[in-house]
Amino acid sequence: DLSQKLEGAFKKLRGRGVLTPENIKEGLREVRRALLEADVNFKVAKDFIKRVEEKASGQEVLKGLNPGQQVVKIVHEELVGLLGGELVPLAKADSPPTVLMVVGLQGAGKTTLCGKLAQRIKKSGRRVLLVAADVYRPAAMDQLKVVGEGVGVEVFIQRIDDAVKICRAGVEEANNRGFDVVILDTAGRLHIDDELMGELQQIESDVKPHETLLVVDGLTGQDAVNVAESFNEKLGLTGAVLTKMDGDARGGAALSMRHVTGVPIKFVGVGEKSDALEEFHPDRMASRILG
């Protein structure tokens, strides 16, 4: 536990004096180590430690708290602040259908998330249409079809090899048949694949999504900054979802993502079933990252 680790580093500060950059240096090294072990990006961790150092310096050592606990409290507060303030809900269009586009790297959990979102929206009394826009992965459309059947939501399938055409037709279908929400399940792709990133940009300019969610695997390590940055540069991301958080990954990717894009994390995937979706809680995430 981090505060226990810091106790040793701050023994000499007990009950008196002021926190200074010098006397908290060793403790901050422990905090940095914890962040790196939690997969927070190296550069993000560096910036973060600087902020904590600035915040902590000059603070009186508080009676009743051991200095280690005091620093952890500052770290925790700073993390919560960075991870994200107010819970930002899913976008809702003034006139339906609301268009949601789900994007991200291969295997992040997009197709599974589409089913979870569809179920959540359906439960709120709105009609959802799922659109199978992954034309590359073997049996991707069949996978979404099965996912849709599992949650009782219709899936728009066109077995052609043009994802842009499919999305256009899917949104048109949603429009014509009065669906409230249409969710576009896109193929996984690398942020450095110009052609495939171009495909997403084309879909975006065609159907103008109200919400574009970047799906990130909760186990992601240092690479989270590269992925988030690239997707954010090329598309108008409005939110992010961290998946597979039912495991024991510490989830440092969440901080890296927020730090470089400022995009709000809206949901957390916590399992393979269609009900395994939680709203993002920055305080829980902060505790998890700190271990």
């Binding site: 180590r33 790196l36 072990e37 939690a38 997969d39 990006n41 190296f42 550069k43 790297l105 291969q106 295997g107 992040a108 959990g109 197709t111 590359y136 992965r137 073997p138 049996a139 991707a140 069949d142 996978q143 079809k145 099965v146 996912v147 599992g150 690398l190 942020h191 450095i192 695997d217 186990l219 992601t220 390590g221 240092q222 690479d223 989270a224 590269n226 992925v227 597979k244 039912d246 495991g247 024991d248 990954a249 510490r250 440092g252 990717a253 393979e272």
Partner: protein, 278 residues
Amino acid sequence: LTGRKKIDEETFEDLEEALIMGDVGVGTSERLLDRLRERVKKDRIETGEVLEEALIEEVEQILLGGEGAVTVPEAKPRVVVMVGVNGTGKTTSLGKLAHYHASNGERVMVAAADTFRAAAVDQLRVWADRAKVEIVSNESGADPAAVAFDAVSSARSREMDVVFVDTAGRLQTKVNLMEELRKIGRVIGKACPGAPHEVLLVLDATTGQNAVIQAKQFGDVIDITGLVLTKVDGTAKGGVVVAISDELGIPVRYLGLGEGIDDLQPFDAKAFAEALFK
């Protein structure tokens, strides 16, 4: 990275940054840099360039150190099982391996033992068609161990050269799923004594430190003989395999570098170590 200038503390910080940004992890990076400091003294290293080369050698040594005892079967078939957490590329890597062996003239069978995930069998069936190999499957929800047993038994009686068994993705924290994997391993051994001969833990190169825990906990329920590191065509370095080789002695066998059937390469430790610093 460090060039011809003299070595100072900043040089070591730059190297530490490269290691950590490559997902090698804090602990392993520290051990590597401690060893490097000893080499500076012993080999009288003076420039950053030579220092970096020495570090690359140290990393390469760790990667080559894994033994990963692969059982050589006494009779056909050789049985290979793909395991790992969700979405890492098990099914895709299996397709690539099946194709490689089939195109080398071997008689290959694949077993669709992921009976849980939506369209998992359909996905593997496409790969089997592409690789032109046989597939054994059962209906959704069937016992995965039973599918593995049927496939291995059938391959044995027909003297196929190799059977690849696909399993469902599972997080190591799911006790029941880990027990299911233990059972699959045991049942495969019943169908064919000595099997499985290879168990490949498929890791996504974007994965951070959790990969070390994965290797430990999967290793507790089934003997892992090697790693497949996938998605190295992205920007992630996959340095966590250095930590796994260092702590557990498990070697990397293959790299997945794309979504096509030919996008698989045998692991090259030196090239991998060099790439960490590019």
